[in-house]
Amino acid sequence: MSTVKTRRDVLGTNALRPDGAAKVKGEFSFSSDMWSDGMLWGATLRSPHPYARIVRIDTSPALAIDGVRAVLTAEDVPGVLTYGLIDQDQPVFAVDYVRYMGEPVAAVAADHPETCRRALAAIIVEYEVLTPLTDPELSLDTSTPAIHPNGNVFRHQRIVHGDTSVVGDVVVEGEYEIGMQDQAFLGLEAAMAIPDADGAGIELHIATQWLHEDQKQIAACLGLPIERVRLVLGGVGGAFGAREDISLQVHSCLLALTTKRPIKMQYSREESFFGHVHRHPARVHIRHHAKADGTIVKIEARMLFDGGAYASTSSAVLINGITHIQGPYRCPSAVVDGFAVRTNNPPCGAMRGFGVVQACYAHESQMDRLAEACGLSHVEIRLRNAMRTGDTLITGQPVESVAPVERCIRETDALPLPPPLIDSPDVLELPGGTGLTSRSENIRRGIGWGVSIKNIMYSEGFDDYSTARCTLQDGVVALKFATSEVGQGFVTLAPQIARSVLGVTDVVVEPMDTTIGSAGSTSASRQTWMSGGAVDGACRLVRERLFEHVGLANGIDALRLVIEDDEIVDTMGTLRIKVTDAAPGVRFEETFEHHHRPTEDLDENGQGNCHVAFAFVAHRAVVDVDVELGLVKVVQVATAQDIGRALNPLSVQGQLEGGIAQGLGLAVMEEVIVQDGRVRNPSFTDYLLPTALDAPEVVYSLIEEPDPQAPLGAKGVGEPPCISVTPAIASAIRQATGRDIRRVPVRPQDICL
């Protein structure tokens, strides 16, 4: 791909990452790379049981070990004992009960990681082991004893819309299951907590998606005023939703305040599987009613999300799931029941796609069945029902976003297919690879489709604003915001915005911390829109001040001034002055908060304008399957994505390809296997992520129809790439094998036995 060369890296160019050089040289400081004089190591003791009563904890043997400086339990938490993003039901340390395998029970601080391990082994915890509640259906049964004082159901929401008595000429019905996926960011949870000299405050360097939300929850648990808890973003090695909840934040701060020493904490990969929430496993029963020509007239669905032991964002994931169950298709009537329930399984919460991944797998599997029932192709059925701008959703909300669903499908369909498999390909091109399992005569090829709709920004009345400050002096811009850079590239985009608005070249991004207002979370595909809007707004305010200054100095109305490239130009006169020379020594500084339009809660029938905006995408997957062995190689994924506007085409491509790989993972290999509440594969040996030999060729088309609601015309591009690729791959496997695949990830035995 050729790099677009412009003189300045403004919006629309392939500006390169400002942190790129540091990252390729190994000099970028991730939160796990931090080091502090006199620091101690922190570590967490976790429950070996999915459900047990804590009879007794004796920390004294651990404290007796040379080098151990502190051992903390729930009794040592000075503030509130629980935290949580929506409901604060998750204990900092287990109190009386442990409700999932891996729940924190105690934490230690010591002089070396090995001392920490020995200390953890020395803590005596006596458990009365209880029978775990692991079947989410049982959580709905009112006769099942509650495993938490708040009960076993996080949320139930119904959607009733249109004429529910309608019956279709054609009815297709299916039960689908989605396994538990892990975000599996590479940069493990890590933090450095540094206590203030007076012992009454803390500075936490942390890899997180949302500094201010962390700050609020940490301060409450520490019993400190919020201003005494200062957060600084440590380098973040990926997030994908797993850094939205608290993990080691409170523990590290407590250990630092107790020992009066800096505390370094970092999880191992095994601990990371227990230390953050996962994608909800879900069961979806869904029935489509359609006219004989394939036009959908009604859907009926029941969705059950297993939220695990604590609430996290389960109630919001549920709403995303049920409000997206219609897919990117018109649907006049619907009856949907959704449940998010508590079990003694691992807690689940945010992951890229946030509830929509589960809905999409179900509705897209249904679309294939509907196509077959109506004698239509997989493309035709989707085109026939494709949603358009102005359509009404099953929540009664009008789709005001640009909705180029038909274009997504048609442009995907127009992308070239890969060449057919040759007779004697390199083994690396076959399913099974170097395992030498397969030859071309064992392979059948399939092509499958998936199309999706995804809300962007937060929903249900939440005002998830973002704040940014712009400072301009002598042509140099400094930008300040608390937007978490997790790898997505906001640190590249923000300077592009400033260059476009202000005609500058040099832009400095200041450290991200809590000394400025919240930027909201780096999630829900929202930062380009929200923090992009905030940076754009702050830069525009500075531009106004600059124009006023230049106007005054030159005796002309500031309204006549515009930026052209790197100059300020008088549109009605001859003045033309470089931005760098326009106001020597003068400092302009403005702060701007961007708020999206308000949204509403859903009523008891699930009606309401609960979402801000939507993005759409289509995926076509080509897979080669060794039918006899059930092994799959994804050959190619074609995609056309509705992005509004490509602010940095190279970054967009990176998001598309990266998301597709994650969706591929869920389709054919990634699953946290939980049996009787126990995680069986908490390691990269057994939780398999796509490698370079699993990545398909990606061909794509960007659909740029700027969204009038979006500050920069651009929709977020983070989540859609991973959503409909999963059902597309599953569909392609069905096409290749004739098997009725109802579950992802698709396992070899699902194909060949």
Partner: protein, 161 residues
């Protein structure tokens, strides 16, 4: 804690003494926590991600699986030793230019693995590149921009040969 077995490692051409260590420490730990070389990253502790890749006697290995005290005779090269201060290797520059870096956590390991590949095989096919980096997990990029970055280096080096 320490067990008082002092040993010396040869890292990026320098002799580095390790003392007061726990002898069970991996090379990754010693590089990062004792020798001030945090470029190699830890993400799995079991050789399943490649983030900790370093060169040892000319071979790319996972430093998390090397017992540091057993590596006393080895010539160890880390990502920090690839390019002189303030400069970038062609592979590093190509990663930046091609958008092969997102979060960057896997990047140093990949850079080392790719240098190691191109040292021994200057003109690998696309499949050879894929196999050579199949032990380096990247969770962000889906690998597409990484392949593009390597291809660019191969072409540039070919043009200057």
């Amino acid at each position: 804690m320490s067990e008082n077995q002092i040993y010396t490692l040869t890292v990026n051409g320098s002799q580095r003494e390790v003392k007061d260590s726990w002898i069970g420490e991996s090379l990754l730990y010693v590089l990062r926590e004792r020798l001030g070389l945090p470029g190699a990253k830890g993400a799995c502790e079991q050789g399943e991600c490649g983030s900790c890749t370093v060169m040892m006697d000319g071979a790319a290995v996972c430093s998390c699986l090397v017992l540091a005290a057993s590596a006393v005779d080895a010539d160890i090269k880390t990502v920090e030793g690839l390019a002189p201060d303030g400069s970038l290797t062609d592979v590093q520059q190509s990663f930046i230019n091609n958008g092969a870096v997102q979060c960057g956590f896997c990047t140093p390991g990949l850079i080392v693995a790719i240098h190691n590949l191109l040292d021994s095989q200057p003109n690998p096919s696309e499949l050879e590149v894929r196999e050579a980096i199949s032990g380096n997990i990247c969770r962000c990029t889906g690998y597409g921009r990484i392949f593009a970055a390597v291809q660019d280096v191969i072409e540039q080096r070919g043009a200057t040969r």
